[in-house]
């Protein structure tokens, strides 16, 4: 495996989308390549930042009207 191939497999690797043989090839490459280990760490850091984004403002639009509609719907 080379680095250009590794960077395109990184999501399949993280998401459990690789078969055993490919997963082993990815892990062998990671053991040997500091550049790709850094790349993988940065993808993980990117995911962590995405996950920490604050929620949108104005959480439940029309909440009272919706509760009212729910009450009347029986």
């Amino acid at each position: 495996m080379d680095c250009a191939e590794f960077v395109e497999l990184v999501t399949d690797y993280l998401e459990g989308g690789l078969g055993d043989a490919d997963r082993r090839r990815v892990e062998e490459h990671l053991d040997l390549c500091d550049g790709c280990s850094t790349y993988l760490g940065q993808v993980r850091a990117t995911i962590a930042t995405l996950h920490e984004l604050p929620p949108e403002e104005g959480s439940t639009p029309g909440r009272d009207r919706l509760l009212e509609a729910f009450r009347r719907s029986l």
Binding site: D2, C3, A4, E5, V7, E8, V10, T11, D12, E15, G17, C33, D34, G35, C36, T38, Y39, Q42, V43, A45, T46, I47, T49, L50, H51, E52, L53, P54, P55, E56, E57, G58, S59, T60, P61, G62, R63, R65, L66, L67, A69, F70, R71, S73, L74
Partner: protein
């Protein structure tokens, strides 16, 4: 903080019995995420808010027809996606999901790898530079990342929102969007690579300036 929701069986039974507390619970637990997802399809925050309200009205109306073949949340989100897509198309914002632009080709600039014929072909010319730890304010990084997500093509954006921002598992994301798990990963891969590249460019500028 969001209260723990009961399991689907109990939740659906309570909603069908018109238990208002149960409805308020799902309303408050899911609306923020629905709002964010709706924003991926339509042009304005107001329009997204209307999508979410229309979705809940459709949910109230359809509650007694819900067959439990998917999780309740998946069913609600599917209604939202359909509502938001229709509205997005009307607003001239949405592109048809069948178009495949932006979904092929490498996600990292090929010039960063040694070309065929070179020793170590396909390997980095230069390793990606490590990112400085805690060098950037969290709020500034969040602004950067939110802007990078907003730039993504619609399908990639929707998958990144559901999978990485909201943290839904891959099966639920595929199921909400009615796409295969493999295609879901393709979209996620391209979306993540774009956001990573934006962060990298940001750190590179900080180093040279």
């Amino acid at each position: 903080m969001v209260m723990e929701l009961p399991g689907d069986a109990e939740l659906v039974a309570r909603l069908r019995a018109r238990d208002e507390a149960a409805f308020a619970l799902v309303l408050d637990a899911w609306s923020p995420g629905m709002l964010r997802l709706a924003r991926s399809f339509v042009s304005t925050p107001d329009s997204a808010a209307e999508c979410v309200q229309d979705t809940w009205l459709a949910v109230i109306e359809g509650l007694d027809r819900f067959e439990g073949r998917s999780a309740l949340r998946t069913w609600v989100y599917r209604i939202l996606v359909n509502t938001a897509k229709r509205r997005g198309v009307r607003e001239g914002r949405s592109v048809p999901w069948s178009s495949v632009a932006d979904e092929s080709g490498p996600t990292v600039d090929p010039a960063r790898f040694r070309p065929p014929g070179e020793p170590y072909a396909g390997h980095w010319w230069e390793f990606p530079a490590p990112w400085p730890e805690d060098a950037v304010l969290a709020t500034e990084m969040q602004r950067l990342v939110a802007a990078a997500v907003a730039e993504l093509p619609e399908r990639q954006r929707v998958v990144v929102v559901l999978r990485d921002i909201q943290g839904y598992d891959p099966d639920e994301v595929s199921s909400i969007l009615v796409i295969t798990p493999g295609y879901q990963r393709v979209l996620l891969h391209r979306g993540r690579a774009h956001v990573r590249a934006r962060i990298e460019a940001y750190h590179a500028r900080a180093v040279t300036s």
